[in-house]
């Protein structure tokens, strides 16, 4: 396989939702001496294409999540190569994400995390039933690194709204609020609730959250 065939293979793996093929093509790219950053660009191009299909109603959540998983399988050999070259992959920043205390639903949170990973954000997934303290500590830890920092809170059930609001208030009292872009989503949240809680981004869909963040960070 020549360079262009391998690059097209990476794109095809995503568009056909084939993780095994994605991994195989990524390894081939490394063997063939293709610039790993160029290979990652190809994967990103394909993943954005799937995002557009999702927006237009031609692809659906399983496709979106599976495409992201192909990316996850293809990235490690390419990232290893980048590291060995002494370079680093451009990371936009950190996303600290979790489902707030009292709530153990995680599908929505996982979808958001997956989409942000493929957007080149390093995701710190705190899991489910996350306390106010745990959220704040993780944000405090990441803002030290002087990179953009996002906080995503998932709330499927209404009692969790109070918990999310506490997180925002604590960030304020700890002097961290202006250092982090706070997002909120989940079945219990409406735009009004998100506004009252004082968050920066609310989106009813995972892809919508990605779009909103793109508006801020490009």
């Amino acid at each position: 396989m020549d360079k262009s065939e391998i690059l097209e293979g990476l794109k095809k793996a995503i568009l056909e939702y084939n993780p095994e093929y994605g991994e195989e093509m990524a390894k081939k790219a490394v063997e063939a001496g293709i610039d790993p950053l160029e290979a990652i660009d190809k994967l990103t191009e394909a993943i954005r294409q799937v995002g557009e299909l999702f927006q237009s109603g031609e692809a659906f959540l399983p496709e979106l999540v599976m495409a992201a998983e192909v990316m996850q399988r293809a990235l490690p050999p390419l990232e290893e190569k980048i590291k060995s070259q002494g370079k680093s992959r451009k990371q936009l920043g950190y996303l600290v994400i979790g489902t707030v205390r009292g709530d153990i639903h995680e599908i929505g949170k996982n979808i958001v995390a997956t989409l942000f990973r493929v957007e080149n954000w390093e995701v710190i997934d705190l899991g489910v039933d996350v306390s106010v303290e745990k959220f704040v500590e993780a944000v405090k830890d990441k803002v030290k690194e002087k990179k953009p920092c996002l906080l995503g809170m998932s709330c499927l059930i209404t009692p969790s709204i109070r918990e999310a609001t506490k997180v925002v208030e604590t960030l304020k009292s700890e002097g961290l609020r202006d250092k982090v872009v706070v997002m909120m989503g989940g079945g219990a949240i409406t735009k009004e609730i998100a506004n009252q809680a004082g968050v920066d981004i609310y989106s009813p869909t995972a892809q919508g959250a990605v779009e909103e963040v793109r508006k801020i960070f490009g």
Binding site: P62, E63, V65, M66, I111, G187, K191, T205
Partner: protein
């Protein structure tokens, strides 16, 4: 190629064998002792030739029971109806169910909520929307009349031409004048298709001249016939559902007999169009639950007792596509579909025969997707049980990233077009629109995008000649 209907597995019966026998015996008794009036002497002669007793003064035709049994035995249990585009040919029979559009007299202006006579363009658009919708398997002319000027030619011919040009699925027609019937038969033959005739008898027990001519013309052309007698409980038929079932079926079998005498292999579809009457006002009632029960019994009688095709109709009494319209149509469609007829005529009708809208047809199409899914039921096999997958995912994983989900979700779950399933926030953001607004947008999209198979050059030439010929004919007596 044939367009397969939805398969109704395990149709629901509401009568037992003993009850069906009693209804059948009632039908035999009525046909033998009362009979049916045929308002055309020629028809009486044909039926006399079959073995009926005829009183030529009253044109009353009585059917001996052995003859009725023979007619039912000889009727076609299944047959094919050819569409202009043969991939839409229908195979009528068995437990296969087709959905069709319903026909009315006028259109509903959704802005003013007033009834109006449709224009030529509105008729074309209604036909094209029906042609595009995937749960419309055949098309009754959506409007009974359109606004044309006398100098444009015969209205019936104009409407038939529009139907032929704008619909590639199986088309239906009503028995208008003999000229119009001959015109559409010629148009259909020129385009290699069959047209189904809706045949309206006059209950209690009579066929008018036009209906008889319809039977004679269409049976001769080997085009299928479908009964559409307006049975009104307590007015032209007994108020009891069982009594109406006897009378309705006696009238149907008499029409079937005449069609069979002309062409033994003609396709014949017994259809019930029975309605209640509001005894406070005399207003006819279309969306009643009684129609559901009656249609189920009618279907069981024809499909499982006689082993012959059948059709039913869904209507509403609402004057606007509102909540009442929705539940009346959905409730009746579900129960009728579960009984397993071969056709349900449903799309587009609002105030039964009086109002129709392509936007409502779009909404109905979605409702019918849900009904079709209901009929499919639950598939149980190793792949759908997904035990290995459940083990693989374990107690805390997810299924969204599994091939099984990607491959199966569209097959297992209906994806609506115009129903709202967005979040509240998205709904508000998108203008807080109701289903009518969304269906209007979908209708516009269909009209912009849908392409109907064009006529071939040869068909075009033939149709133009037929249209020219029939526009020159001043009245049906000239043929």
């Amino acid at each position: 190629m044939t367009l397969r209907g939805h398969y109704v597995r395990k149709p629901v019966d509401i009568l037992d064998r003993d009850q069906l026998d009693r209804i059948h015996q009632g039908i035999l008794e009525v046909l033998e002792e009362v009979g049916v009036i045929f308002d055309l002497e020629n028809a009486c002669k044909i039926l006399e030739g079959m073995g009926c007793d005829v009183d030529y003064k009253s044109k009353q035709v009585k059917f001996p029971s052995y003859l009725v049994e023979e007619i039912l035995r000889k009727a076609q249990p299944s047959f094919t109806v050819k569409a202009r585009n043969h991939k839409y040919d229908l195979r009528v029979g068995g437990n296969y169910l087709y959905f069709h559009g319903w026909c009315t007299l006028a259109t509903l202006d959704l802005e003013t909520r007033r009834q109006k006579t449709p224009t030529r363009q509105e008729y074309i658009e209604a036909c094209r929307v029906l042609d595009a919708l995937d749960e419309v398997h055949g098309v009754l002319p959506p409007y009974g009349s359109i606004d044309t000027k006398p100098e444009e030619g015969r209205k019936g011919v104009i409407m038939n031409e529009i139907l032929i040009r704008n619909v590639q699925k199986v088309c239906w027609t009503t028995h208008g004048s003999t000229t119009n019937m001959k015109a559409i038969i010629e148009m259909a033959k020129a385009t290699d298709q069959q047209i189904i005739l809706t045949l309206s008898g006059a209950p209690p027990l009579r066929y008018g001249e036009n209906a008889i001519k319809g039977i004679l013309e269409f049976a001769k052309a080997d085009f299928p016939l479908c009964t559409l007698h307006g049975i009104i409980y307590g007015a032209n038929s007994p108020t009891t559902l069982a009594g109406s079932l006897v009378l309705d079926n006696a009238l149907i079998i008499a029409g079937m007999a005449l069609a069979q005498a002309i062409n033994p292999k003609v396709g014949f579809i017994p259809c019930t169009y029975a309605m209640a009457m509001d005894m406070r006002t005399g207003q006819l009632v279309q969306g009643s639950v009684e129609r559901g029960i009656y249609s189920m019994a009618f279907t069981q009688m024809w499909r499982r007792y006689y082993n012959l095709p059948s059709a039913t109709i869904v209507g509403s009494d609402a004057k606007y596509p509102d909540y009442q319209c929705g539940w009346e149509k959905a409730l009746n469609t579900v129960v009728q579909a579960l009984a397993g007829p071969n056709f349900i005529l449903v799309h587009g009708g609002i105030y039964d025969e009086l109002l129709w809208s392509p936007v409502v047809a779009v909404i109905d199409n979605e409702m019918l997707k849900f009904v079709a899914r209901l009929l499919e039921g639950m598939r149980i096999d190793d792949e759908t049980l997904a035990i290995d997958l459940i083990k693989e995912v374990g107690p805390v994983g997810q299924f969204l990233n599994k091939k099984h989900t990607k491959e199966w979700w569209r097959r297992e779950h209906v994806l609506p077009n115009v129903s709202d399933r967005s979040s509240y926030a998205e709904w508000v953001e998108n203008g807080a629109k109701d289903i009518i607004e969304r269906a209007k947008a979908k209708t516009r999209e269909i009209l912009e995008k849908h392409e109907v198979l064009p006529l071939t050059e040869e068909q075009e030439k033939k149709i133009s000649e037929i249209v020219r010929k029939y526009h020159q004919i001043k009245s049906s007596t000239q043929l």
